[in-house]
């Protein structure tokens, strides 16, 4: 960023705009991950309201793998930083 001679109000808007997009991205990542792992791990007959042991370990692994896919796709897209 230019230190002083640029219009600071406009520049600040840009920075806040970027920060907002970043946060929207994180929220969307979390929501997609949550819905996708629910689809993969939870049987949709809902015989009980507790998560059973199989579902719990499936969730943990699903989150971990989703995270890895996020990093892998990020590399392919040329991002040089982790998803968060």
């Amino acid at each position: 960023m230019a230190p002083t001679n640029s219009p600071p109000a406009f520049e600040k808007e840009q920075i806040f705009g970027m920060a907002e997009k970043e946060m929207e991205y994180r929220v969307e990542l979390f929501n997609k991950l949550t819905h996708t792992c629910f689809n993969k791990c939870i049987e949709n007959k809902y015989k009980e309201s507790e998560l059973n042991m199989g579902e719990n370990s499936c969730i943990d692994r699903c989150v971990s793998k989703y995270w890895q896919v996020t990093n892998l796709v990020g590399q392919l897209l040329g991002n040089n930083r982790p998803p968060m």
Binding site: F16, A19, C41, S49
Partner: protein
């Protein structure tokens, strides 16, 4: 979604902190309302399939309750795992 996942505000000047914090609040409100809507959609889609009456029967109601409770527990667990990964606490297989 936990507010702390959205960013660290300590390094900002006071005025910007207020604005950023308000932005985060707005995003969280929007996110909870969207979550509410999509939870209703999911549990309705999975639990309600007959339209011979205009009221939920007992079985549908039980299904919706379980679906919603299960989703909330699921979502909390995902949140914990997600936070660990964010903090680099992930351990190898």
């Amino acid at each position: 979604m936990d507010k702390s996942m959205l960013g660290d505000l300590d390094s900002l000047p006071e005025e910007d902190k207020l604005r950023m914090s308000s932005m985060i609040d707005q995003l969280q409100i929007r996110d909870s309302l969207r979550m509410y809507n999509s939870l209703v959609e999911r549990c309705f889609t999975d639990c309600v399939d007959t339209f011979r009456r205009k009221s939920l029967d007992k079985q549908e109601e039980t299904c919706v309750r379980r679906c919603a409770e299960k989703f909330l527990k699921h979502s909390m667990r995902v949140g914990m795992r997600f936070a660990e990964l964010n903090q680099g606490a992930a351990t190898p297989d």
